[in-house]
Amino acid sequence: MILRPTREDLKAIGWGVGRVILGVGLLMTVPLVTSLVCREWNTALDFAIGILACFSFWLSMEILCPINRDLTWFQGLVIASGGWLVAMVFGAIPHYLSGHFKSYLDACFDLMSGYTTTGLFLLQDLDHLSHGMNMWRHLLTYAGGQGIIVVALTFLFAGTAGALRIYVAEGKEEKLLPNVIRTARAIWMISLTYLAVGTACLWAALLREGMPAGRGFLHALWLFMGAWSTGGFAPQSLNLLYYHSFLVEMITLVIFVIGSFNFALHYAVWTGNRREIYRNVEVRSFVTTLLIGTFLLTLSIAREGVFSGLTVIFRKGFYNLVSGHTTTGNSTIYSVSFYKDLGFLGIFSVIMVMAVGASACSTGGGFKGLRMGIIFRSLRQEVRRILSPESAVVREKIHHIRDIWIDDAMVRAAMFIVLCYVFIYFVGGLLGVAYGYPPHIAFFDSVSAGSNTGLSAGLTSPLMPATLKLYYIFAMWAGRLEFVSILALVGFAGVLVKGRRARHP
C-alpha cells in the first residue's frame, strides 16, 4: 500500500525548494553587481526583478511551510529534482527579460543547459549580449557544476542529516569529509582555488594574444567557468574558435580535464595521496576510452584528408574529442565540421565518448567512468568464472579511493543507470529523426544533451520544434540528476493522485 504524502511531507518539500530558490537569488547578486559596474542599467533591472521574485518565493515558503523535523530520504529526493525545475523557472527571469529569447521556453532551455553544465543554447545574438548577462550564463554553469544543491547546502542549510539526503539526491554520492556541509564547502574550496589559478593563466594568455586587459579578464573568468564546470559556454558565438589561440585551447583543455575528475579524487590528491591518480578506476577508464576514441578519430581524419599535421589534428580533432569526453562542449570547429570534416568514424567516436562521459561526483555527465569500470570488471569476472574450475571463487575489485569488491547489486545499479542513459539518448535521437533531421545529427545532439556535453552538429537552434526543446530540457535534467531523484519525483506525483491517505489514530 502506497500512502499519499502528508501535509508535513509537502511542507518539508516546500521549505527545501524555497531554500534552493534563495540560493538562486543570492547568485544573481553577482551579475547584478557586474551590470552596475559596467553601467548596464537595464540588465541590472532584469536581475533586480529576478532577485525580488526569488526572495518573495523563499519568504512565502518559509511562512507557509515551517518544519520542525529533519528531512527524510524521499523528501530529499523530491527537493533535489523539483528544486532544479523551480530553479530553472526562476533563474530564467533575467534571461527572458534580456530580450535575447523568443520565448520563455527558450530561456528555460538555456537555464537548464547552464545548471546541468550542458552548454547548448537557444539565446539569439550572443555577440551583442551584455556583460551582466554573460556573467549570469557562466556563473550559473559554474554553480551548476558543483550542483545547485551544493550551493544551497554550503550556505543555507544548517548541519542537518536531511542535508545529506538532498546532497545524495543530486547525483553525488561521495563524501569527502564526514560532515556533508563540510563536504559541500570542500567542493567549493577546491573549485574557488582552481578559479583563481585558472583565470590568472587564461588572462595572461589572452593578453598575450592581443585582447585588451578589461575584456581579457572577463573572458578569462568566463572561459574558466565554462571549462571547469564542463559547461562549455563561451562569451562569443564562435566559442573557442573566436580566439584562434593554441595557448588558450591548451589551458582550457587542461582545465576541463581536471574539472571532469571526481571531487573525491581531487581531495585525495590535495591531501597528499598522489598515487590515487594512477590507480583510480575512473582515470583508467577515461584514459582507455579516450585512447579508443583517439584511434578511431585519427583513422577517420586521415581518411577524410581535411586536417593534416600533428598540431592541426590535435587542435581540431583531439581537442573536440576530449571536450566531448569530459562532456564540456567547448569547440574549435563549426558544427558542420563534425560530420563533414571528421568523417563517419570521427563523429561516431565523438558520440561514443560523449555517451561515456566524465567521472562520478564531478561537474561532468554521461554514464561515468566509475560505472564503465564496474561493468567492465563484472564482464571480466564472468569470463574468468567461465574459464576457471567450478569450485573456484572468482571476484573482481575496483580501486576508487579504496579497494572495492564488486558484487551483483553494484553491477545491477550501474547497469540500470547506464540503461537509463541509453534510453534517453535513443528516444531523443528517434524524436529528432521523426522531425526530419538526418540520423547522425539527431543522435549527436541527443547524446550531447543527455550526457550534458553541449557540442552540436547543428540541430539545436531556436527554430527546433518545441517538443524537442522540452525533451532536451528533460534529458539534460534527468542526465544530470542520474534518474533516481527523477523517478522519486514521478513517484511523488503518482502517489499525490493515487496514493491512499494515511489514517491518523
Binding site: D46, K102, D127, H128, G210, K316
Partner: protein
C-alpha cells in the same frame, strides 16, 4: 552460493543483451544514408559577396579561393605576430542587433575569423557588442577550410578591407517599466519579510514557554 548465481545473473545478462541491442540499433541509424547533402547545395558565384553561413556550409567549394564577405566587425581586434584577428558577422543582427531593437531572426550569430595585416586594423574604429554598433566592412581574401598557418582554423586571409558604414556607440533607453516592476515587487517582499519575522518571533516565544 553458486546455486543462486544463475537466477541473479539472468537479469544481469538480460540487461547486457538489451544494452547491446540498443547500441546496435543506434549504430545502424548512424550508417550513411542520405546525408551526403553537402553536394546538393546551391552556392553563389565568387564575384559578389558570399554569405558566411553559405561559406561554412560549403567550405569544400570555396577552399583556397578568393572570396568577398560583407558584415559587422564584432568583439575584439586581436593584434599578434604582425597581423590581427577580426571576427566578421553577416547574420541579420549585424544589420540591427537585438540590443538596437532588431527583430528575432531565429538563428544564432554567423561569423568567421579574418586574418588581416596590422595596417588594415587602423581602419577599424568600432567593434560590435552590447553598447556598440561595429563597423560594416567589405573584405576580400583567400578562404581556407583548414588553414595550415593557423592550426587548421577555417578563416579568411584578407587582401583588402574597406569600411562601408562606420559604426557608432549607442545608448540604451532606460526601461522605466522594469523599474516600476522592481518597485512593485518590493512591496510583497517587504510585507513577506515582516510576516516571516513576526511568525519566527512567535514560534521562538512558544518554544521558550
Amino acid at each position: 552460493m553458486r546455486g543462486n548465481r544463475p537466477i541473479q545473473g539472468l537479469s544481469e545478462r538480460r540487461l547486457i543483451r538489451l544494452l547491446a541491442l540498443l547500441l546496435f540499433f543506434s549504430f545502424l541509424l548512424l550508417l550513411p544514408g542520405d546525408w551526403s547533402r553537402a553536394e546538393s547545395g546551391e552556392w553563389e558565384g565568387f564575384n559578389g559577396p558570399v554569405g558566411i553561413s553559405e561559406l561554412v556550409e560549403h567550405m569544400e567549394h570555396y577552399d583556397g579561393k578568393t572570396v568577398t564577405v560583407e558584415g559587422e566587425v564584432v568583439g575584439d581586434v586581436m593584434n599578434r605576430d604582425g597581423g590581427a584577428w577580426l571576427t566578421v558577422n553577416d547574420d541579420p543582427y549585424a544589420l540591427r542587433s537585438l540590443e538596437e531593437g532588431g527583430d528575432f531572426a531565429g538563428v544564432s550569430n554567423s561569423g568567421i575569423g579574418v586574418w588581416v595585416a596590422a595596417d588594415m586594423t587602423r581602419e577599424i574604429q568600432h567593434t560590435g557588442d552590447y553598447q556598440e554598433k561595429g563597423d560594416r566592412v567589405r573584405i576580400s581574401g583567400v578562404f581556407h577550410r583548414a588553414c595550415g598557418e593557423h592550426g587548421g582554423d577555417a578563416d579568411i586571409h584578407a587582401q583588402s578591407l574597406e569600411v562601408l558604414v562606420r559604426g557608432y556607440r549607442f545608448e540604451h533607453p532606460f526601461q522605466w517599466k522594469k523599474l516600476a516592476v522592481v518597485l512593485l515587487l518590493l512591496f510583497p517582499a517587504v510585507f513577506l519579510w515582516t510576516v516571516r519575522e513576526r511568525t519566527r518571533r512567535k514560534r521562538k516565544r512558544r518554544a521558550t514557554r
